[in-house]
Symmetry: C3
Subunit: 317 residues, 3 copies
Amino acid sequence: MPSVTGKITWTKKDLLGLEYLSKEEIELILYTAESFKEVTTRRIKKVPALRGKTVVNLFYEPSTRPRTSFELAAKRLSADVVNIEIEASSVKKGETLIDTGRNIEALKIDIIVVRHNCSGAPNILARSVKSSVVNAGDGWHEHPTQALLDMFTLKSKLGRLEGLNVSIIGDIAHSRVARSNIWGLTKLGAKVTVCAPKMLIPEGIEKMGVKVTSDINEALSGADAINVLRMQFERDTDGAFPTRMEYFKQYGITKERLAGCKPDIVVMHPGPINRGIEMSSDVADGKNSVILEQVTNGIAVRMAVLYLVGLVKEGAR
Amino acid sequence: MPSVTGKITWTKKDLLGLEYLSKEEIELILYTAESFKEVTTRRIKKVPALRGKTVVNLFYEPSTRPRTSFELAAKRLSADVVNIEIEASSVKKGETLIDTGRNIEALKIDIIVVRHNCSGAPNILARSVKSSVVNAGDGWHEHPTQALLDMFTLKSKLGRLEGLNVSIIGDIAHSRVARSNIWGLTKLGAKVTVCAPKMLIPEGIEKMGVKVTSDINEALSGADAINVLRMQFERDTDGAFPTRMEYFKQYGITKERLAGCKPDIVVMHPGPINRGIEMSSDVADGKNSVILEQVTNGIAVRMAVLYLVGLVKEGAR
Amino acid sequence: MPSVTGKITWTKKDLLGLEYLSKEEIELILYTAESFKEVTTRRIKKVPALRGKTVVNLFYEPSTRPRTSFELAAKRLSADVVNIEIEASSVKKGETLIDTGRNIEALKIDIIVVRHNCSGAPNILARSVKSSVVNAGDGWHEHPTQALLDMFTLKSKLGRLEGLNVSIIGDIAHSRVARSNIWGLTKLGAKVTVCAPKMLIPEGIEKMGVKVTSDINEALSGADAINVLRMQFERDTDGAFPTRMEYFKQYGITKERLAGCKPDIVVMHPGPINRGIEMSSDVADGKNSVILEQVTNGIAVRMAVLYLVGLVKEGAR
């Protein structure tokens, strides 16, 4: 029974962020994901773990990749899945998030996977419904399953997380991926450095227990792994952003820059990659890159999360 | 076998409207829904009743809630479901409803659930294809499964429908929900009052066997239940509508207005609610409200409908 | 075991076009489709052939009909299906086709069904991933499952393909349906004539082994079957196209024109029909028309294709 590592049993109704989980709970998810990873390599990639349960993907941001990953994870657990996409533009004349949540709960949905452009929306939803809520990314707040799959991948490659030097490079200020990784990695004993141009580093980030630098060489030197964030230049309305060319020159990960790093440094990226901006193609497709393994592991990690919250004792709801 | 109450067996290929059903057929659907309601409370909320059957949700109006409810109902019966959304704008250059229907029939689809902005479209479709057709709302004509779930909810709360005083409040003129409720409730022996500003009462409605009033107090007094319709102020292009504020003042259901009613009056709304327009939040969330139970019952009622038309003898098709 | 006709076993990872298949491979698909056609007539229209396998419908062109047909085919084989629609407009700022493909492969998808506005896109995708790739239409290149279902239908009606006279009528220049039919029919020994206004006949088409004419009477005379293509007048930006009226007058298939043909001439159309443009309604719905049978056969043929590529030995991937 994968929900027991000998130490603890999963009791939380929801997965809202890594901020709210203990070290042991994170380890339990990663441990559970191991068994599901094995399932995805079988000829019949399916287990009846959540048969007769229903999962709703409630997406307030259109996002094919995470929706697909969650949908596959749920289907491989034999759950029924319904996708609901709500355009931001239609929210105003529509009902509130709480009303939507209560209506979904009334449909006897076991798990709501929610992606929302407002930070904290999944927390509000979770308090309003008995259904389990899984955060698939909220504003600049958290994206816990992405961080969990990053950590799962890292542990698979390097055998441990404790004591690792992990540098997160890119737009830290607007990144829920960065925040969730920082919470998770520091809880599991990794040493985290964040690296970005000054304007993309949020004030007070060092209070999260990370080292801060704007010097890419400092971030790379001694790193066991780097997590390179997607730059979203579409944000650049006021010209304050560096240009794409400038960014690549100063922060882009190239073969040359990797040459000075640990030879088995792990290169991660949450995808989709802007080739030639965050990193060069030879790095993205190179021997240090685990970017496609991250995608594969995303299914196993999401299966683990859906499984754990889906089977939590009804009493906890 | 839920299709038999001792009285009759279901023989109709389609569910197009409550106008076309006998009292006994409506009772059979409500009776069948009872057993499916029990299924939705199980840990494994699924029965193999329609395994190997295929349901198409053919929606000419985008509408997440009813589509989701039908999709879940079909999946919980183990049917395969395919969603087809056709934008009104693309209909013109596309094929006719009949051609679309015949093509869907040629795909060996057992049941077509259709929502269409034109009154009577499901009837045309039903005549053109051997597949069963379930009306999920057509123009201002009928929305039979909504009325059935309203009646199911009412019967669950008050133990009977016969002799009940039910007031339908709101935009009667443009409401398929009102029309289907009137057909169903009067057939089952309830006394129906409709209440709206004069301009929102269709001419000749009293011929359907209902009492008509524009006085909210008259509608509330002695009512066992009220069904409060959604106001669609987006219709108001010519300024003839009352304003939102004015409407709420004259017709909005408030705690104060309910104070003068039967203490156990049942408050229904097809959703989504405009809080502060059709009713105040304390009423929507109050002890008389069964609005979320309606959502839950919607699944059971739709499972019953899909089950009955889905298993009708092939000869009837 | 339907993958063996006594002659050959299926070994190809992908179905990219009929150009790339041998006569025997095409025959194997048609033979396999026979058994699946029988499945779609059962009360439980489902077989467990691809249980635990995953199919992604990756559509770069919105197209309800083929998506629905492939989705149903996959579900009736008990595969899990995920739909991904990518708007052409979002491709520019998104990732490349190869990156998208590798990401889908990383999700452990067995089969990618791809429709793309660029000719050759499925070939590129197939070379980039281990997943099987099925071409659901690419630019003006090929639409192999459409041609296979046309051939399947023809064989069902006339008992053979060899020696048949088949005329393809309409916009040959911009038709992937025409190209796939020409490859398939000529390989199986049919004699193909293409007929269109001169501007809609691509240069050098006769090198594909077809007779070319702009005279509709020549195309109809002696034909055992005609395949009438959909005219897409929305292409007409420069006024070079014939008008709808003019086209119908010169090339439209009418009862009168059919009167001079073989009495049991088979009339096909890939749909959706422009009634009164490519053909009159009495022909579309008449006794020679097999248009709806084509739709039905489309499911069986697509089940056969998904089954064959889905069960190809892992080593071939």
